[in-house]
Amino acid sequence: MKDTGDKLLIDVGSTYFKICAGDSIEQYMRDFNREILEDLMAKAGQLIARYQPADIRVCSSANGGLSALIIGVTRTFSLKYATNIAFNAGINIIDTILYQDIGNCSLPSDLVDVVIIVGGVNAHGGLFSRSLYRYMEQLQYSNVVYVGTERDAAAIQTNIPDVVVLPNIIDERLHIVEEHLKVYLTNLYQQDIEGKEDIKRLYEITANQIYSTPYIVNRALPVIDATFSVANPFILLDIGGATTDIHYSKDLVEDNIVTENGYDRLVFKRLGVYKSRQSLILAAQGNEFTYELLTHLKVTENIFKEQGERATKVLMQLAVFLVLCKMSHYRQSYINLKLLQINSIVLTGGITKVLTVAEIDVIIAFFYSKILTSDHRPVAVLDSDYAIWTLGARGSY
């Protein structure tokens, strides 16, 4: 890792700017009536002016990222592998379609940034047919990439205009091959940033590539114990204004994915306390334990209608609870983690400015006793000065 003591690190979040110079980190609430660069310069222009573009490093989670739709032939191999790669490349997945059901699937109403089609080992062929091409004809998308069996590549190229064909992400042992698709998606993310005027203008202050924030955070995980007293294994929850990211080590997954990366990422796109406040409340209302938890926290459901510090605290606590539920067997989602094995839960993002360790411990205790019926209590660790982001940002150039 390079010494970056004289570098300026900037994170453009959905709600805040964070700026790190030396050991000092400042945070500024964004003004959504102004362009990002204009807003940033108004708040920290003098500081930014002291640095050369080569010494300024910017990452962003504010441009919404790319949306992906994945079409695969099975849930436990093709869809799961492509989902895993997309998450790790910083892509938001709007839906996954099991190919055999494609005839009954509705079309997304919004334009999809990238469609990923996957299925089969190279020794197999003839998996895709007219039903795929019909669906693609009706779908609105900007990019499409095929990463399935090479035997079907020619037919796919004939029938889907402008499709990019990459090597299969499933090898002959049914293991995942990440690299080609990951590079493609990461480059697409980069092009997307460059195409979005708001973010693109940030290149006026930096000569370095602008990365997605989750990518930067993920880079910090292998060296996280250099900064924190974290007992392995751990999970990292990045709960912010718009989304919640969970980073976890692979050995916590009961899964058939074997990759070279030590850590994976999972995103809950509509789980935040600012931009995604309403969807968080909806998710909470759909969880049968929510009302018991609210009682436990000595509030009623009227808290959902309130604004202010108390309501934000409770919503943050609910977000922690819902995320833990989503990673447990109680609410089966993309992946289940071995939550009884984790020793630390590291929290970063906006949540660290709102909740104390004690307030998080209450939720952890409630979750483990009610959902997992266990006395196990992982230790909550707060990254209240965004040290994980700075660690990742410093190591990633």
Partner: protein, 137 residues
Amino acid sequence: MKVVTGVVGNDIHVVANRLIDLALRARGYEVFNLGVNTHLQEFFDAVVETGAQVLMISSLNGEAEGWGREVRLLRSQYTNLDDLIMMIGGNLVVGSGNGEDIAARYRNYGFDIACHQVDLNTGLDMLAALLRERGIQ
């Protein structure tokens, strides 16, 4: 001829799994080995991904009994597995029982061949005979 194989459920009998892998390859099959601790859905999904004609499940610690009951229901959710030949072998029950009765029970679960405590080569001969009978090369 492609075969998907593995050990079903929470069962870590890797030696038997390896022997099956070797024996299948020695007989000329193209083997996709999912290893131990494999869930039922992974077996069927692997068949879809590979285009395997045969699914050969092994079980050594009695896990098959519970999983076996799910086979028909799960298989019915796939649109393209009608011609799949399904075989299961190993120690298929907890405790003891009559081999023929146990095999009949597993055939009722949807397996074409069930071998309870049957020698591996004998089981593979049974598979070869079934393939010949169905005219599959």
